[in-house]
Subunit: 403 residues, 2 copies
């Protein structure tokens, strides 16, 4: 095991010069304890959004290559400023872009995947006792084109660096103290989880918990890299995400989550015959649209109603595509509904215990909340309900499971 | 001669999305005429200053390496946005950082010199009929460290690219229509010069004309690259700067310039003996201070008064150093005077015509403006006067020489 700690600081942790100085002090604190530090930084505050706004003022359909050229500057600014802040406190630090530090990706602009990391430059600087600061979210393909890794890309950079450097640990600093049993803004009694398995975190991420992106957790899981999620504003312990930490047979509901960013698309009167669902979802997938839950209602007289959820982004386009497929297969109306919310519970081993689902449905029924769609996975149960009941549902479920 | 035109657009020409779109239209206009275009862009409006302010909020003495990392993002933003604007109008374009396009410099951060330019990537994209957009002001050293070229660096990038690509012409677009016989804000009758020699432009640049930096003109002169300076806001012709264009013997005063950014330092009662001036100016040069005009008054009883001009930046430090040398050599008081201005006339062949100088002095005398220092070069004559008379002096000289 090396002596290297990889730390990642999100945009809110470095939003202004004062916060950058705070982060510099925290980093130096670790340095003084004798660790070698590799620090990944996101763009300052809203920089990325501001750059995107600028691009969309120029054109409604910017080229992805040029978008990467543009938004990768955000992290380059952060790393330079953080290095300066560390210098000011008297320690040695050096900043790098993704390209300089050898983060090689494929060529899928705006959503590139890391292929490999050449760690020689980082190791050289660590040997010279420098704190190494790396621009998150970005890399370079084999033709030296600048790429970005997509949403949550800086977390991915941190985990990938931790793997490549065989780091002792990987710490993700953010503006919350860790992962909670529910959103503390909705449930006052929400409790911070000290430990969580990769699978639980994955489920939470896919169900709308913003703390970590699923891609980053998947990578950590594949290489078994423990991730500590904690706040850059306090010194409290955070949430450790690692391999399964609970007893095999003990069923535990870890958290309840809420997602209000999805819409439901319903296709009416779909001919109920083999191959139709495949045709619909193949066409939708070919258009690059991710579908989340899918529910098919009971068939009557050879037709069925099919509902699925998608993110609200470009909803009009998604509806248009569904309508087009609908016409091709002789289905009826296509209706979009944005006033939905999804509440979910997550916990290892819940699949084999039907009592868990019943408890969840019961708590919703007790609050007169109608369930419109249900979906279950190995470690989660999700219900789609009216959006206006979302917070009440989360509170009820949190109480029911005594989280 | 190739079919390549290098164009450079300054920060004010691309200050906002609307202006970027205007620049894109101008570029495409040239493309339609059949030229291959390589476009160099500066950072948007005040971006570089804003980034520097951010750095100085973090530390009063930022590392030059990290400053380059920081401020090079400004041009990277510009090139991406300009490429998008061209795409929007339906033409093909691709943007590059200095590093990507192979602008190799030495390692003198914040004031690097271009060593060579590898043009293969640019040529490849031009062959594919793309408009190539290159970030100005920046390069990369042999260790892949990002460097910047110092003030006026984007002009330098343009001229260096024109040379490396054997371009047909090099056009510098700015917010003025060209080089004038005097600052049009001071002299209403000021006239745009259609042609100017490299040497005249060099002299004008060193005397305070902001249109082009001396380094860029020197490079153009060395490789005999004609530069057209013109406005990005109009379609009028600009000023062509090339090898000497005037008849050998005809004396022409081309322009009158004004510089109010200098201060005069006077060392009183300097011992009048050999080696003293050398001692003084060697010490000052060793401290990295550039001295401009030097005037030594008539010696009396073994002592002399020595005056020289320096830029007002860090004036206190410069005075301190002069005072220290003064003590070492047994001189008297050291006095700094910030209320001076320098007016100069520039023109080929004036040195051999003493009538020119006399005319200049006469026009000042007619306006009761006292001359405090005089300095002459091969193609210029400068007078230091009280700052409050600066504009009046420029107007008088402009009239005298019927510019």
């Amino acid at each position: 095991m090396s002596n290297i700690i990889v730390q990642k600081y999100g945009g809110s942790s470095v939003a202004n010069p004062k916060r950058i100085a705070q982060v510099a002090r925290r980093i130096i604190g670790y340095r003084r304890k004798g660790y070698d530090l590799v620090v990944v930084v996101s763009a300052l505050g809203d920089t990325t959004d501001d750059l995107l706004k600028l691009a969309y003022k120029i054109t409604s359909s910017p080229s992805e290559r040029e978008l990467d050229m543009l938004i990768s500057t955000g992290e380059q600014i952060s790393v330079a400023l953080l290095a300066m802040a560390i210098h000011k406190l008297g320690d040695e630090a050096i900043s790098f872009t993704g390209a300089q530090v050898g983060i090689i990706t494929d060529s899928a602009h705006t959503q590139a995947r890391i292929i490999k990391i050449n760690t020689s430059r980082i190791r050289k600087e660590l040997q010279q006792k420098k704190i190494v600061i790396v621009a998150g979210f970005q890399g370079v393909d084999l033709s030296k084109e600048i790429t970005t890794l997509g949403r949550g890309g800086s977390d991915l950079t941190a985990v990938a660096l931790a793997q490549a450097l065989k780091a002792k640990s990987c710490e993700i600093y953010t503006d919350v103290e860790g992962v909670y049993t529910a959103d503390p803004r909705i449930v006052l009694q929400a409790r911070k989880l000290e430990k969580l398995s990769y699978d639980e975190m994955l489920e939470l991420a896919s169900l709308g918990t913003q703390v970590l992106q699923a891609r980053c957790v998947l990578l950590a899981k594949r290489f078994n890299i423990p991730i500590m999620v904690r706040s850059s504003f306090t010194n409290k312990g955070g949430t450790m995400i690692s391999q399964e930490v609970k007893a095999m047979e003990k069923v535990v509901v870890s958290a309840v989550t809420l997602n209000k960013n999805e819409a439901k698309i319903t296709m009416r009167d779909v001919p109920d015959k083999p191959g139709i669902a495949a045709k619909i979802f193949k066409t939708i997938a070919d258009e690059g649209i991710s579908v989340d839950m899918i529910v098919q209602n009971i068939s009557r007289t050879g037709f069925t109603d099919l509902s699925f959820t998608v993110t609200k982004e470009n909803l009009a386009r998604k509806v248009k595509i569904a309508r087009k497929v609908g016409q091709q297969i002789g289905a009826g109306d296509v209706i979009a509904d944005q006033d939905i919310a999804r509440v979910s519970i997550v916990g290892v081993g819940m699949k084999s215990h039907s009592g868990i689902a019943a408890n969840m449905f019961e708590s919703l029924a007790e609050n007169r909340i109608n369930i419109e769609m249900i979906s279950t996975s190995e470690i989660s149960i999700s219900c789609v309900i009216r959006k206006k009941f979302a917070e009440r549902a989360v509170q009820a479920i949190h109480k029911k499971f005594k989280l």
